[in-house]
Symmetry: none
């Protein structure tokens, strides 16, 4: 979206906007019945939203492009995911709730095994358990790097996060992971003149880590990749003039929301936890991003019936959500995860927006087939926020 235009036409209002994201929502037909998960689910409340609201099918990155969770959510927040990229290291940080800041460079780390000659023999150190990983991270955290603050945080098994915090750090660094065994780890090289100091810091860390880990076979060395700075994204609350909150249980989604400047509220895993957080903070914020993970997990597991059930569980809370009287309620997903496909997919995702200002359209139910009949057609996720602002009386007209 054109944030300059949005800043120009955004105006204050008392209205409330809720964006409910059902992760991996879209699906594919069951070969037996010809009906998708959403078409199979009994979801009278969501269907009523579709009847009263405007519907469409959303793509997040581009037609035919399968979004990762980062690009999928950025697009829902109206950031063009092809323009605003979040590097691997930054995503890893976000995924463990590490508070990545503007002076940070982060990388994904692996503990690995090297032999007596220093050659990598196992890039994953036999997948050591997470407790061992945490112990070794605590050890590495005590390395002294003059000129930078050091963070070494466990992720899972052999994976950890390395972050350096300091002034003038750069992420233009080559990776040390050779991506094969039988060769030594690669040196860190600056890929731009401004990265020389950072390259020296990381090299010093790697050399010190080798010493500290010497006796800790199989985790006796580290590999680093995906160096990334804090992604300098425009502020969602500033661009839209919205006090914006995220209600998300999983760190990745809370982290993504924080990267765009939303306030991440404390949130439990269940839908009633989310409702409670909404109710508690209803007056303090204008915009609420509510994330629901279970639809995606069921799709990834290839569990059609569980995905049906998870969609029905969301349906059951819609009346209570509506009792808060949001001026704009939107329900959609960040990508499809069809049970038949068992993974993120490129298929566009059903979308509904309900407010008192909805143009009539032909969608009569909330599913893939009916939302195709909606007035929004097949459209880009980056248009969702402008639609929400308009329906919330938060945009003035453009031009006289």
């Amino acid at each position: 979206m054109d944030f300059e235009l949005i800043r120009e036409i955004a105006i204050p209002a008392e209205t409330k906007i809720v964006l409910l994201v059902m992760d991996g929502l879209g699906g594919l037909p069951d070969p037996q019945t010809g009906r998708t998960e959403m078409e199979t689910a009994r979801i009278p409340n969501l269907d009523r939203l579709a009847q009263e609201g405007i519907c469409g099918m959303v793509y997040h990155v581009g037609v035919g492009i399968t979004p990762g969770s980062g690009p999928g959510h950025l697009a829902l927040f109206s950031y063009d995911p092809l323009r605003y990229r979040i590097g691997r290291g930054a995503l890893e940080a976000v995924g463990i709730d590490f508070d990545l800041g503007p002076r940070d460079v982060a990388a994904r780390g692996n503990f690995c095994t090297v032999d007596d000659g220093g050659l990598v023999v196992d890039r994953r150190a036999g997948r050591i358990d997470t407790d061992t990983c945490a112990r070794l991270c605590a050890e590495l955290r005590t390395i002294d790097l003059p000129g930078a603050e050091l963070f070494v945080e466990p992720v899972r098994e052999h994976r950890f996060l390395l972050a350096l915090r300091g002034d003038g750090l750069s992420d233009a660094l080559s990776e040390t992971d050779p991506q094969q065994v039988g060769v030594p780890p690669l040196g860190v090289a600056a890929r731009a003149p401004a990265a020389k100091a950072t390259a020296a810091l990381v090299s010093a860390f790697v050399a010190a880590a080798r010493e500290r880990l010497r006796g800790h076979h199989p985790a006796n060395m580290v590999l680093l990749r995906g160096f990334a700075r804090w992604p300098d994204l425009p502020s969602f609350p500033e661009v839209y003039g919205l006090r914006a909150a995220a209600i998300a249980y999983y760190p990745m989604y809370r982290g993504l929301a924080k990267l765009v400047g939303m306030t991440a509220l404390p949130a439990g895993p269940s839908l009633s936890d989310s409702l409670a957080a909404l109710r508690e903070h209803w007056e303090q914020f204008d915009f609420f991003f509510v994330h629901y993970k279970a639809t995606d997990s069921a799709g990834e597991d290839g569990d059609f019936q569980r995905k049906v059930a998870k969609v029905e569980e969301v349906d059951a809370i819609i009346p209570e959500l509506l009792s808060l009287k949001p001026d704009v309620l939107m329900v959609t997903g960040d990508h499809s995860t069809p049970s038949a496909y068992r993974a993120h997919s490129w298929h566009p995702v059903p979308f509904v927006l309900r407010s008192r200002w909805c143009q009539a359209d032909m969608a009569g139910a909330f599913n893939e087939r009916d939302c195709q009949k909606g007035s929004l057609g097949l459209f880009a996720a980056t248009e969702i926020m402008p639609l929400a602002m308009a329906h919330a009386d938060r945009f003035t007209k453009y031009g006289a």
Copy 2:
């Protein structure tokens, strides 16, 4: 499309993609019946594709823009036809199967008639027959141009192709055709400093041609226009990681495919020739562009019934095509040629894609009206290849 993005997410797979292009496919309703050619045709196999697959209406250059064959096909191959332009001279070369290369500059030539004072009296030399044209081309081919290889190839009647091959040639040249009679042919001028040497070469050719043709009234002079270099298009096989083949009988379409780096297979004029070529080369390639001309010719002739019959002929080979088990089969056109309009038109063209991963949509038949109900809606032809790659499991996800 963003070729950088495609290179980034394209991954290898064993899958096969077939793009069947029915030239000039789209039509308009017959005033008597209210049904288009496609709606009139009995095409149960294509209709079944529409029921099982995803459908939409394709535009190639822009809404309301009638595509030439060049831009129409470039768009189908995912090259933005407004960005990638193929000059007239290059198209003429491709149209006669001339093997245009990166060191070439080509122009469209006309034999014309000049009077004793050197003024053009007939820009087409009385439309001399093609045999005469060929004889005169052979004569001109013997002109010696120091520093460049010369090609003069007959096209049809008074039209020929001029091509110069050499190092550092430029197409920034003014045309010699004055576009009117009663005036002399124009001189060739360099429109950029780097084109001076080429302008001198072309001027030398024109002067020599005037001498050689002096006794050949009415074809006693030449006019040149549409100077064009070889269009330096990104390589389709390289961008998509696809071994790509073209099965096309007409030189123009074979040439367009070669310009994007596809291998042009030997192909006969009939649909069974095309099927035979597909079968023979099935293992050697991942992507097949199959071109079918007869629908366009019938439309250009204003022959509604013949166009109906030609669509039905394609329908009859669909089962055999499917017996090859393509992972993705797409059927569409490069533009519309409604019989009622007797020419290329801007009307969007029905599109169907069938694979095992198709989202359900509302299109129940393969024609203009039903494809409008498809999940793809009205969409750009440059999105066809990303869709094909996704449905062929040849794209990994974008971002984590």
